[in-house]
């Protein structure tokens, strides 16, 4: 599986750790980083919406700006992720394609494990799909 990964300067170091970790687990990585968090996030959104990549991870200081940017897009569900439960459940129930991580908040080791949980967990589908359809009606 190929994962789109991006950071701005504040998230660069953490992003590099996640990249190494996921490469070590056998994932392919497309690094779409950019100094400007708006462009970095848009790069990942574009990879999901137009390039057939199914998982994206964006890292900055707190994970808030990339959440605001990514979730504004039709067809995107984005999850700021700070712990284990969210990293799995947001895949299972929300079909989330992009998570954000905050380098000021979550340490490298935990971030890498959250990233892996996210990329390896599948969507439950079923009744949850009505909510995704509603999100896609909003914008």
């Amino acid at each position: 599986m190929k994962v789109a990964l991006a950071a701005n300067g504040a998230g660069a170091k953490l992003k590099d750790s996640i990249k190494d970790y996921l490469l070590g687990k056998g994932y392919e990585i497309e690094d779409l980083s950019h100094e400007d968090i708006f462009i970095a996030t848009e790069n990942v959104v574009d990879a999901i919406l137009t390039k057939g990549i199914t998982r994206g991870i964006v890292v900055d200081d707190y994970g808030v700006a990339p959440f605001m940017i990514a979730a504004k897009h039709h067809g995107i569900v984005c999850a700021p992720t700070y712990e284990d439960y969210t990293s799995s459940m947001t895949r299972r129930h929300n079909s989330t394609q992009i998570i954000t991580l905050g380098a000021n908040v979550t340490a490298e080791k935990l971030s890498c494990e959250l990233a892996e949980n996210f990329v390896k967990t599948e969507y439950d589908g079923g009744r949850h799909q009505i909510r995704i359809d509603m999100l896609n009606r909003e914008v």
Binding site: M68, H93, T96, I130, L135, R137
Partner: protein, 171 residues
């Protein structure tokens, strides 16, 4: 301050406690539901909170579901909303100071009511600290959604609710 608050059926009890905390702090609270534990759909309540904030009927919004992710994506997809979904005080403060977030959210199954109270209090107290760079980023975020019918069309989700009733969606 006038604060809109919403939740899904997984965390109604947590939402009630958060609303009570806000009222005790002297705020006016508009609870958009859900009001019980009967299965419903988080986009309904995320959109309602987002609409009240985007139209200025509420100053700020609070969105809680199990992880916080679903309902805050729903709020985020309303033009004019800048939602933060957090698990800690520091991120909530940064969201206000740097991005002038107008909706704060969290997962009611992720964090406890003590943490939620701390986050709400800190978020309400924090103030946006504008710079030209921050203003420009916020304008770009707000510009991502073109004008659409999401805010004024209260029948937005009717076709999906009809399909739900008909059994189209099932596990």
């Amino acid at each position: 301050m006038k604060i809109a608050i919403g939740c899904d059926h997984i965390v109604t009890d947590i939402k009630i406690k958060a609303a009570e905390f806000l009222k005790k702090q002297g705020h006016e609270v508009i609870d958009v539901g859900t009001y019980d534990f009967i299965r419903t759909h988080y986009p309904i309540y995320g959109r309602k909170v987002g609409k009240l904030v985007a139209t200025g009927e509420a100053d700020l919004g609070v969105c809680i579901c199990g992880t916080g992710i679903g309902i805050n994506n729903a709020a985020q997809k309303v033009k004019g909303v800048r939602a933060a979904c957090v698990a800690d005080v520091q991120t909530a403060v940064a969201a206000k100071e740097n991005l002038n977030a107008n909706v704060i959210g969290c997962g009611g199954r992720v964090i406890g009511i003590g943490s939620i109270e701390y986050i709400l209090e800190a978020f309400l107290k924090a103030e946006y600290k504008p710079t030209p760079e921050k203003d420009a980023l916020i304008a770009k975020i707000d510009g991502l959604i073109d004008d659409n019918d999401c805010i004024e069309n209260d029948a937005l989700f009717d076709e999906y609710l009809k399909k739900w009733e008909e059994g189209y969606y099932h596990d």
